[in-house]
Symmetry: C2
Subunit: 119 residues, 2 copies
Amino acid sequence: MPKGAANKEFDIRWKSQIKKGLIEYIIMLLLEKQTFYGYDLIDKIRTMSHIEIAEGTLYPLLNRLKKDGLVTSRWQEMESGIPRKYYTLTPTGKAQIELMNAYFTEIGFSLKKIKEFQP
Amino acid sequence: MPKGAANKEFDIRWKSQIKKGLIEYIIMLLLEKQTFYGYDLIDKIRTMSHIEIAEGTLYPLLNRLKKDGLVTSRWQEMESGIPRKYYTLTPTGKAQIELMNAYFTEIGFSLKKIKEFQP
DNA sequence: GAAAATACCTTGCATAACTACGTATTTGTG
DNA sequence: CACAAATACGTAGTTATGCAAGGTATTTTC
């Protein structure tokens, strides 16, 4: 057990940086299973991963995915309540997920190798 | 097998984003095992992970770690060749690594859960 | 009928990776 | 022996993304 305390500000910054790209991946993994609307994605990810996603992060992100042809969206009028914008993964999005899965697997192997590395 | 091809530009951007924070973690994992100098870290990480780190990424990163008290550095004159700046993890750095390990473990569990999720 | 929750959105800031460049020394090659 | 490549450090400016803080509008709850 190290005696020094960790650097709290560094930790906050680092965790924010780690989310870059990761959130995009998680959202696509979920959209691979079913359609979601934005507000629901935030809630789903919070309960499944304890990762908090700000709305100011999510909505621009979904627009990027759409612009890049990875998802499509359609408005859904509710019988009661506020209309929701549902997102669906495109074939391009599905192809992209395969690349992401492969990259994550590779990162997993690399981290394992590095952690087991003996000088 | 999806018919659509993935979005190449998106993939390049995404892989760059995934590196954010990850490179910092990998470097600290290596420095936990032994001291390294910058140029050697690039080479070590390339061979152990196939992740390319630009020099313009590494040197500012090492300076940040130093500024945040996670590493110390000392110049080492070589008998032959260019002097090297060796980096060593501080107790603060070691404490930070434990937080990072815990966070990565949590992310691993979350991804597993999300991948196994059935609607 | 006021507050909270739902559901969407935008603007501006901070951070980190990258490209491209610069410096200096040493090693390899024709 | 000259010249290219490799070694080893560094900086400046660009770009992308997460986040805080703000906004609108409707619905539910107390």
